[in-house]
Structure formats: structure tokens, C-alpha cells
């Protein structure tokens, strides 16, 4: 499986790196490791990886700075690993350009699913698709129509824009800030209640039980994620 995608792991804890490497190798990925931010940034140039797994608690640089530097150098997908006490940092890193996060501790399966979602976005952008489908939900992106179990659902332009952004990032978290900025513009970044109201409407139209959604998942305090079942 040597032709597997190359992942750069930036993580200071040796045991975590060992677990990540063996778990990823087993699933067919190739890995290179860096134990601090500086080495990680250097390896980005020398190794030319396709994906980065970045731990937020590095000894030499904080995760947000590393994310920013990585973004300056390349637009490859970044997956953040965060501890529970780093909620605020996690959101800042996502807004700084990271693509998704995993909260420690996590299992190999979860990690793999996230990496797959990240790669999918890179390889075949959902926006360029004609039809997006997950579970009973079908979105015809050329005709701009939404179907649930093949019945058309009428949604408003704003709801549709929210939905397409989530489809573009399907399987990945999209922060409140990103959604607000893309749909309402930079001046509405603080108006989270806009999101609550429109996401609520969208849930009520697309979910059988909006209080236990299947597609439009809430990541409390972070954003939303369109689930790929």
C-alpha cells in the first residue's frame, strides 16, 4: 500500500504518535512524524504530505500559529487534535483555517472517518457534483432542488445556501463564523441567532425528528456538520 496518501503527524507525545502511525499504516496511509511545530513546518516543504494531523498542545508553538503558518504555505487539509480543556483554542484554530477536529481521546475508526471526509473534499469537490446524496436526503445541485425520500422539499434561498456550504464540507465541521461570513457577510459574524433560526428551519424541513437529527448535526459551541452516513 505504498501508494497510500501521505500524512504529516505533528504531535509531541511519543505514545500518541506511535498509536497514530500504527493505526494509520494499518488502514493504508503513509505517515511522517514531527514532534514540534518547527519540524512540522519544515517537513511540510520537504515531505510534501497530502494531509496534516496537528496536535494543539505543542511545546514550541501554539496550535493557532502553526495552523496559520501551514495555511500560508499550502491549502492541504488540516485535522486538529484537541484536549477537552482547549475548547476555545480549537474554535480559533478552525477559524484560522483548520478543516476539522477530533477531541482526545478518540478511536482509530473515528480518525479514519475524518481523514476520509477530508480527502473526499480535496479529491472530488461536492460542489462540482450534480447530485449530492446521503441517506434519504438528495440535493440536485444543478437544478437547486432538495428531496427527502424522493419528495421535493421547498426551502428558502438562505436555507439553500447554508445547505450547500455544508454539502461542500460534507462530513466536516463548519464553524459558526464560516457560515455567518459566507451567508450573511463579515458584518454579521457575531449574530449567531441568525444561524440558530435558519438552521432550525432547515432541520425542521429535513429531519424526521429535529431534536435527534440524522443529517444536520450540531457541534455545540463550534458549528455544524453534515453527516455522511
Amino acid at each position: 500500500m505504498s501508494e497510500g496518501h501521505l500524512i504529516l503527524i505533528i504531535e509531541d507525545d511519543l505514545q500518541t504518535r506511535r498509536f497514530l502511525t500504527s493505526s494509520l499504516k494499518h488502514r493504508g496511509w503513509r505517515t511522517v512524524e514531527a514532534d514540534c511545530g518547527k519540524t512540522g513546518l519544515a517537513m511540510l516543504k520537504s515531505e510534501n504530505p497530502e494531509l496534516v494531523i496537528l496536535d494543539l498542545g505543542l511545546p514550541d508553538m501554539d496550535g493557532i500559529t502553526v495552523t496559520r503558518r501551514l495555511r500560508q504555505l499550502s491549502d492541504l487539509p488540516i485535522l486538529i487534535l484537541s484536549a477537552r480543556s482547549q475548547e476555545q483554542n480549537k474554535i480559533m484554530a478552525l477559524d484560522a483555517g483548520a478543516d476539522d477536529y477530533l477531541t482526545k481521546p478518540f478511536g482509530g475508526g473515528e480518525l479514519n472517518a475524518r481523514l476520509q471526509a477530508l480527502l473526499r473534499r480535496v479529491s472530488r469537490s461536492f460542489v462540482s457534483m450534480e447530485i449530492f446524496e446521503t441517506g434519504e436526503l438528495k440535493v440536485d445541485l444543478t437544478r437547486r432542488k432538495v428531496f427527502l425520500s424522493n419528495n421535493e422539499v421547498h426551502i428558502t434561498p438562505i436555507e439553500y445556501r447554508l445547505l450547500t456550504i455544508l454539502i461542500r464540507e460534507a462530513g466536516l465541521v463548519v464553524t459558526h463564523r464560516q457560515l455567518l461570513q459566507e451567508v450573511w457577510g463579515a458584518e454579521h459574524i457575531g449574530d449567531q441567532h441568525y444561524l440558530r433560526i435558519y438552521m432550525g428551519q432547515l432541520r425542521h424541513k429535513l429531519e424526521t425528528n429535529p431534536a435527534r437529527p440524522r443529517y444536520l448535526l450540531t457541534e455545540v459551541g463550534v458549528g455544524y456538520r453534515l453527516s455522511l452516513s
Binding site: Q88, P105, H154, T156, P157, H193, P210, A211, L217, G221
Partner: protein
Amino acid sequence: MLGYVWGVSAPLICTLTIWPLQNWLGPASILMTYLLGVFLVASCYGRGASMVASLISAPVFAFYFARPIFSFAIQDLENIISLVVMMVVANVTGNLLEKSRLQAELARQREILASALYRLSRDLSDAKDQDAVACIAVEHIRDEFEVESVLLIADGENRLKTPASLSLPISLADIDLTRAQHIFENRKVKKENSNLYCPLEGSLAWQGILIIHANMPFPWQTAEQNAFLDTFCHLIGQTLERLQLATKAREATIQAETEALRNALLSSISHDLRTPLTRIIGAASTLIENDAGFSTLERLDLNHIVLDEAQRMSELTGKLLDMARLSSGEIILHRDWNALEEIVGSALNRLDKHLKDRPVRTILPDSLPLLWIDAVLIEQVLVNLIENAVKYSPAGNPIDICGKTEDGYCRLAVVDYGPGIAKGKEIQIFDKFYQGDPESDQSGVGLGLALCKAIIEAHGGVIYASNRVGKGAEFVIKLPLHEPPQVAEPETTGIMS
């Protein structure tokens, strides 16, 4: 002054009264009348006035009543003797009266001082803390001496604490603290400029300093008044000491309680951490030792034990971390407008694994307004409550989550169909480290509900538990509603073209 006016007028009044009756009265009766006048003056106005009265009475009597009349000469020996006796009697009674009058005055002053001290000690005994003592002392000194003052209290290291400048009278707003500290350390009463510094002594240590501001001369000059001020200071010093000792005792009790709590926590945590650790170590070491001897299925089984127990530990440490974070200081809320539906959805999603075999019924009306809350913390509350419902009701039984608005609050209930809460424990279960049944396998550290309570109360809400009439427990949180902001550009509800 009035006394001397009476001293002069009393003999004249006597003369006018007796004059028409002189033909019927003997000289003894007339002199007795004058004596009465002198006596009355003495009893009312003291010795000076009575001396004046008696000195005037004598010549007036000689002039008007003793023969020869209208002359100061006196013919009869009897009249001379009577006059001398009257003078002596007048003088002696005057002296006696003066003495008793002074004593009465002294007693009255003492009574005033005693009652002032009584009032002070009564008020001081009501004081709850040292700052209250400072207020009371200043007030009483203002009442008794009509001067402004300030009380500086010393801390544990004998340093005077700076008082809040707002509570100071203007005349004392610029006291030199260094100077006060210096005098306090010398332990001697000192007059300086227009301030009087009185260090306050307790029975064990010096407690502070009272600084009195008055323009010279100070109103207390006599030994009596000085002693009074001394007693005042002594009383204040004693009270300060009493309160300081009480605070120390209270702190010691709190520390002992914290210690007990910490021990309870430690034993509880070590139990809860050791159980999964024992299983993990057991399973993992078995796997390593007999790697070849196990079938794939057996190996998988042991691996599952490791994973499950590690996840249990992860949850537990997560809760401990939360509790440590929340109890290490004030809870900092990152509030924003949030939909309860999303938070419930996310909590259920997080607990997906635990809820596999359970129907969860959510009843959340569309009309629920947005809440001004910290979504991450409220989600944690919901996760804890739902987890509890799972833990304490038999597998397969449903769990209900119902929300509604109720007079200014959003009321959210998590209902299970288990055996309910033990009677009388409805409040206790929210205590830190409370455990339903210490022997039960279901024991957590007893932090979950305490955590919930802390979070909900930080939001200005309430949380309580009760048993439902049928069967099962109901946990209710009530969060205050806030006026949600308007959406600036409401979208036309029209269908997309």
C-alpha cells in the same frame, strides 16, 4: 449667673413678704424666713449663690426689722445671736447641699458614661465582622464626643489595612498611614497636630488604631474622660480580637471540612479509577502473556474490555476535570443565543452508544425561544442528566425529554421510568460526592449532579429533582428567558425559484 440673681433677690422677696406682717412676727420667725430663702437658693444654685443670699439677708434684717429700724445698728442681744446663728446655719446647709449636688452631678455624668459604654458594647456585640466594628466605633465616638474618627484595623502581620477612602470623613481623608503605622507599633497614645492616635489592645495582640480628629483643645481633659476614652478603646480592641479569633476558628472549621471532602473525593476517585484500571491491566496482561493460546474471538473479547474500561475512565476524568475547572473559581459563561433543540440533539448524539436500546421521546415545541446560555455547559448538564436516567432505570425503558416555557423560564425535564429517587434524598443528590448506594456498581464520583447544579445556578436558573406520581424520577432545569434579538432582514418565506 442666674444663681446670683436669685441670691440677691431672695432676701428682697423675703423682706417684701414679711414687711406687712412685722407687727405679728417675732425676730426669730423673721430670721427663719430669711433662712428658708437662703436654703432654697443653696439647694437650687449651690454655695456661691447661697453665700450672697445670706450676706444680703443679714444687713437687710438689721435695717428693716431689728431695732432701731431703718438703721444697720442692732440693739437687742437676742437679735444679734439669732442673726449669727442664721449666718452659720445658712453657711453649713449651703456647704452640705453643694456637696450632695456635686455628687448627684457626678453620678449623672457617670451614668451617661456608663450608658454610653453599654450602648457601645451592645452594638459591638452585634457586629458581624471587623469592618462593622470600625463603623460602629466611629459612629459612637461621633455621638459621644462630637468628633470624627477613623479606625484602622491591623492584619495578621501587624500592618494597618488601608480603609476604603469613601467611608472616611473629609477631615481624615488624608491621614498619613506611615505615621499611623509608626505610632501603632509604638503602642502609645499620641497627640499630633489635631489628631489623637489611640492604639487598640486586645488581650493577645494589638488590634488596630483609632485616630480621632478634633480641633484643639480636645474635648476630654479630665482624668474621668480620659479613663472613659480608655475604656472605649479597650472595648473596641477586645471586640476586634474576638471577631478575629472567631474568623480564625471558622476558617479552621472550613479547612477541616474541605479536608474531609478531599478525603471523600480521593477515596471515591481511587475506587472509581482503580476498578477500570484493574480490568484493563488484567485484560492487557492476559493478552500479552498467552498471545498464542487465544482464539480470535477471545482476543477480541479481551480487547473490548480494555476499550470499554478505558472509555469509562476517560468519561470519569473528563468529569473530574470539569469539576476542577468549575470549582477552581467563578464559572465563566460564554453565552450566546442558542436553540435548545440543537443542544438536546447534540447531547443525544454524544450519548448514542448508551442509548442504543432505549426509546428517547423528545417533546420540544417549535415555539421555544432562543436561550441566552453557554451551550457547551448546558450540553454537559443534559449529558449528565440523560446519562443518569440511563444508569438508574432498567434497560429498554424509555427516557422523555420535554421542554416548555413557563412564566419567564424555559423548563426542561428529563424523565426516566426507573425506581425513582430514594425518599428524602431529592436535595442531597445535588451535593458534591453524594452517592446513592456506595456499594452499588453504578457509583460515579457523585460529581455529575453537583456539576449540573453549579452550571445551572451560574445561568441564574434552578435545577431540582422529584419523583413522578406514576414511577420514575424527573429532573427539571429552569433557565431564565431573555428577550431575543430580532433578525434584521427577515427572509421572504417564498419558495426558491
